[in-house]
């Protein structure tokens, strides 16, 4: 099967680089599956999981991304994320703590507060990380 080159880059350095058969991401407008030979495209990403189907492997490689962009070219997909972690690099303890903290904060704040929105985003990121590690 044909493959497409994928790289996930963050401000702190590249996180993932490989040839895969398919990339599945969550864009702000909905889920996107990208196969080799896709037309050039740019889309903003939502906080979510990027699933990568590597050739010859049954299970998908999972990368948690929070905020960023997807740039697609026929032979290459680049994901520009503000933060991205592979499942094995995620600190589960920290994510759990972040989740609790965010939930606590959301209870204390009013819904219209800016801090509420901030806590909500933090909660999303924490849950996203936990999903990737399969601890949720």
């Amino acid at each position: 099967m044909k493959t497409i080159k994928v790289s996930v880059v963050t401000p702190n350095g590249p996180v993932y680089e490989s040839d895969v058969e398919m990339v599945i991401t969550k864009a702000q407008s909905g889920e996107l599956g990208i196969l080799p030979g896709h037309i050039p495209m740019v889309a903003p990403l939502a906080v979510g999981v990027v699933r990568l189907k590597e050739p010859g492997r049954k299970e998908e490689e999972l990368v948690a991304v929070s905020g960023g962009f997807l740039e697609v070219r026929p032979d290459k997909v680049t994901i520009l994320a503000q933060a991205a972690e592979k499942a094995e690099d995620i600190d589960v303890e920290r994510a759990l703590r972040a989740k609790e903290r965010a939930e606590q904060r959301m209870k204390e704040q009013k819904v219209e507060d800016i801090d509420f929105r901030r806590a909500e985003l933090a909660l999303q990121r924490a849950i996203n990380r936990l999903t990737v590690t399969g601890k949720q």
Partner: protein, 285 residues
């Protein structure tokens, strides 16, 4: 001439000083190494986001995003990046001098501009001279992560969006090599001088070019600030390392001179003592 003990004291204190400067050189060397690595790790991200931004901004004619358009300038913002501590040679003064000269040349009234100071040295300098410092950030870590400076970058970019500033300039030290660093001036916002070096790809936009620009441009501007900060940090440690190496070398030179004087004085004292003994013996005969 100073007494033997005075010279001995000077030698000892200079030795202690050189030990300290040597230690500071070593810590700066370690930080410098990591700083350069951080700056390098950021390059792929920066290149990519630049490429995409250019492609989107150029490829979508007829879109008027506020960040891409120059508006009448009522107030200019200057972002100045220095270190929190001194002892880094001319690192801080070079940046500050450049900003100060530019301001004197461009503006007549103090209401026309304000400073966004990153680093204690810049803040202290401008506050002391009664220049408006709108935002100050001190205590940025030596290896800043993108998340840790997110607040700084987004509030700076926010000040442009909400109209506090009509243009933003960025002043920082660009790291060239361990011995050369250069002060850079960059127009951060509005992004009028986006240039193309690579061939443009025409993209499909999902959902639309406007919405993508809304997210992409602030992120691009933030990345520019973050990149400059990493560059500045690498330069700071390189400058401090060089400064401390010079200090250690100078201290060694001083110790050498003092030792010479010390030995000479010691010899003189011995000679005098012998002369006195000989003189005393001669008087007894």
């Amino acid at each position: 001439m100073a007494s033997l003990r005075d010279i001995k004291n000077s030698i000892n204190s200079t030795k202690k000083m050189s030990q300290i400067t040597k230690a500071m050189e070593m810590t700066s060397a370690a930080k410098w190494n990591r700083g350069v690595m951080n700056a390098k790790a950021f390059v792929p991200y920066m290149e990519k986001i630049q490429e995409v931004t250019v492609a989107v901004a150029m490829g979508s004619k007829g879109i008027n995003h506020p960040m891409l358009q120059s508006r009448p300038v009522k107030k200019t913002g200057y972002i100045v990046m220095t270190s929190d501590r001194g002892l880094a040679g001319a690192f801080n003064s070079n940046v500050i001098r450049r900003v100060f000269q530019t301001i004197e040349k461009r503006h007549k009234s103090k209401d026309e501009y304000a400073i966004i100071a990153i680093g204690r040295v810049a803040r202290d300098f401008f506050v002391k001279r009664g220049i408006n410092v709108d935002l100050e950030i001190v205590g940025v870590s030596d290896q800043p992560s993108f998340e840790s400076v997110k607040d700084i970058t987004s509030s700076t970019v926010g000040m442009f969006s909400d109209g506090t500033f009509d243009e933003l300039y960025l002043y920082y030290t660009h790291y060239k090599s361990a011995i050369t660093q250069e002060v850079m001036e960059k127009k951060l916002l509005p992004l009028t001088d986006i240039s193309t070096s690579s061939t443009l790809t025409s993209y499909e936009f999902e959902p639309s070019a406007e919405e993508i620009l809304d997210v992409l441009l602030p992120q691009y501007a933030e990345s520019l600030i973050y990149g400059a900060l990493l560059d500045s940090k690498a330069s700071e440690h390189a400058a401090r390392m060089t400064a401390m190496r010079n200090a250690t070398d100078n201290a060694k030179e001083m110790i050498k001179n003092y030792s010479l004087i010390y030995n000479r004085a010691r010899q003189a004292a011995i000679t005098q003592e012998i002369a006195e003994i000989v003189g005393g013996a001669a008087a007894l005969e």
